[in-house]
Subunit: 448 residues, 2 copies
Amino acid sequence: MARNASLSGYLEFLPTERLTELHVLDTLRHVFEIHGFSSLETRAVETMDTLLQKGEIDKEIYAVSRIHQDERAGKEAKLALRFDNTVPFARYVTENAGHLAFPFRRYQIQKVWRGERPQAGRFREFSQADIDIVGDGALPFRCDVEIAVVMARALEALPIGDFTLRVNNRKLSEGFYRTIGINDTAAVLRIVDKLEKIGPDRVAQELIDTLGASPRQAQSALDLAQIRTVDGSFAAKVRELVGEDVTALLNEGLTELSELMSELNARVPGRAVADLSIARGLDYYTGTVIETTLHGHEELGSVCSGGRYESLASKGKRVFPGVGLSIGVTRLLSALLNSGELAASRSVPTVVYVTLRSAEDWGAAQDIADKLRSRGISAEVALSAEKFGKQIKYADRRGIPFVWFTDDDGRHEVKDIRSGEQSEAHPSHWAPPAEDLNPQIIRKTENL
Amino acid sequence: MARNASLSGYLEFLPTERLTELHVLDTLRHVFEIHGFSSLETRAVETMDTLLQKGEIDKEIYAVSRIHQDERAGKEAKLALRFDNTVPFARYVTENAGHLAFPFRRYQIQKVWRGERPQAGRFREFSQADIDIVGDGALPFRCDVEIAVVMARALEALPIGDFTLRVNNRKLSEGFYRTIGINDTAAVLRIVDKLEKIGPDRVAQELIDTLGASPRQAQSALDLAQIRTVDGSFAAKVRELVGEDVTALLNEGLTELSELMSELNARVPGRAVADLSIARGLDYYTGTVIETTLHGHEELGSVCSGGRYESLASKGKRVFPGVGLSIGVTRLLSALLNSGELAASRSVPTVVYVTLRSAEDWGAAQDIADKLRSRGISAEVALSAEKFGKQIKYADRRGIPFVWFTDDDGRHEVKDIRSGEQSEAHPSHWAPPAEDLNPQIIRKTENL
């Protein structure tokens, strides 16, 4: 990871780093699948029209075109690489609605591309891991709970340390702003979203300057944004700010967020905070909104974000509401690899390196390796009968934990390179300790 | 798979099809990893310069560019999507040579893009699964054997039925053509490569017309191409054709192919044929060449191809020889899905669907599901307390095999939807039959 990418913004892992990434991706997949989420992949390209529907991120889009245009070119749609997994998923849902069973739970772990200016922790190609539940017409609020719980469990299962889901609800925010007399709630959300970046004073000033809010309204907005509770007590604080004047929308938001906090505290204790500063500037969220802070890596911003959108997609009069969260896998992983916090114990899947006494032993050595492989133990055979010291060094350089020897009488011994311990073994019975079967992913917190 | 792609040449799977694809990818990964191959991924884009080095396939390349060019644009390299996994891997090896341990075994399963005219079984985005072994300076011939054996085992592990590795050796072909007096061996290989497409008569004519071969030389070339043996007896047939006149190069080719056939017959019996018609038109192969026919799907052409190249990559005076094979996963898979030969038993990973008696039971039902999940059993909870018939239908529609019921006294029962069998169960102890834990991939050969 000290290496420079040969193409700015495009990260490529070395084998050891890739093993760590694989561990992370496998773990996410396992958690998603035991909760009943189906895997899905969409094509890398979308039509430009599909991508520009949301209108706001055209600057980052990579266009794709055949370098040898021909007579077909004029008839073909302009294409571009996807910049997230949500827009392609929405398109996929409308196209395949007749073949899907709703509510539809899917996970999607794919690369996305953005032509952003490359900088630390920002890549032009990166992986996102999304889960969403999509309904046909309606989707119970319980799906918000389910999504938040599943993602918290996924993050808990990763070797990334402590994190906090910061949860809020758009209905609560919008209901509150309307209650205090600010009606351009989309604008106020965009301004409050900058709180961590520009601080409370400038947020207040912007609310006054841009929206014509009174100083008192601006102060109320800031008061709301300062509410952070680890339980349901945020509701009383909000009611304190607005007095008796609780609108239906605000009430609905309070009820939803209370239910979400209560379920999160029951199912993934200590992982969630009701943080009423979370605004998520984007227009399409309509209820639950979530951001996630990784402790000790606050510089990364939110490592997992998302929420509820009443209209993920629509097809004629048919509307598909959804709720989802997305982990920025590459950004998360590259930070932990760069800091030395995460590492794999070896650079290859191999558990056993079978040595050669003579060049003619290669076939017999492959037979030994095959006996190990048939029991799921990854094995590799030396390519030439160099001195044993050199053969051991080959294994050691890759972090392969065990080396296999066979003597002239056909007796087998296996050596643990790390301890130097050597003992008799049989290729049909010997097995490594369970923790050596796969590369170990080591989290070194002393580096923090 | 009866659906039309919304973008011509871009295939997207439905959840059930994706489960089949995942099974295939997981199986390949397992076989590659137990043989000590490291996972690797390279970026989707390469510089145009890198891709055009080989010079011949520029027509199919997809260029990539930011739609909002700015002052940086002029300084940035022109980019394009990769069209295979070999060129990016070669670039990766030279860039990271100092960080890799040679010989380096890697597998790489990634999508590639080609702007070809879409047609049945030809896609513009498709997955390739590659394995290669790369050496630094030298690479023993045993690596050819290893690659062929590992790939044959990978194909054997897939639910795709019988296949044949058709193996040949460039040294044998080149040595033979030189021996009979044809010196433009690259040209003759390109012509002989068309044998299956245009037939022996037109190949002979082309050899005569284009290369000025005599009718006797053309006949000799055809005689060679007709040699097919399941064992090492091809060598005697070749010697019969050339008489005493065996050059060193021809001899080397015969020796290598004999060793390869002997090892393949020992390690993956019945999977290989020495087929001296296999030429592989590309310039960079220098020894072993392999194509693979899937029985009953000869229309697919070769489903797994590759070979030996003495210079996969080079860096100054440093040369990296390699040997590798590549499976065209998407083409293979789409053919088997389309014909109905392959299918998954369900569309979701879920094993158990936990029903609700009343809306208030949701939390308790999640507790039951969590007990199952903690033991690796994928479970989903109903979102609302509809009639049981409706809840069962929900599970049935997705192919979920088991439905869970809890009565008012807290007694649990689990029902196998397929058999209708219902029995008492406990969420901390009950487990499904092993074959139901993951979706089953079913191969229906009666469709053949």
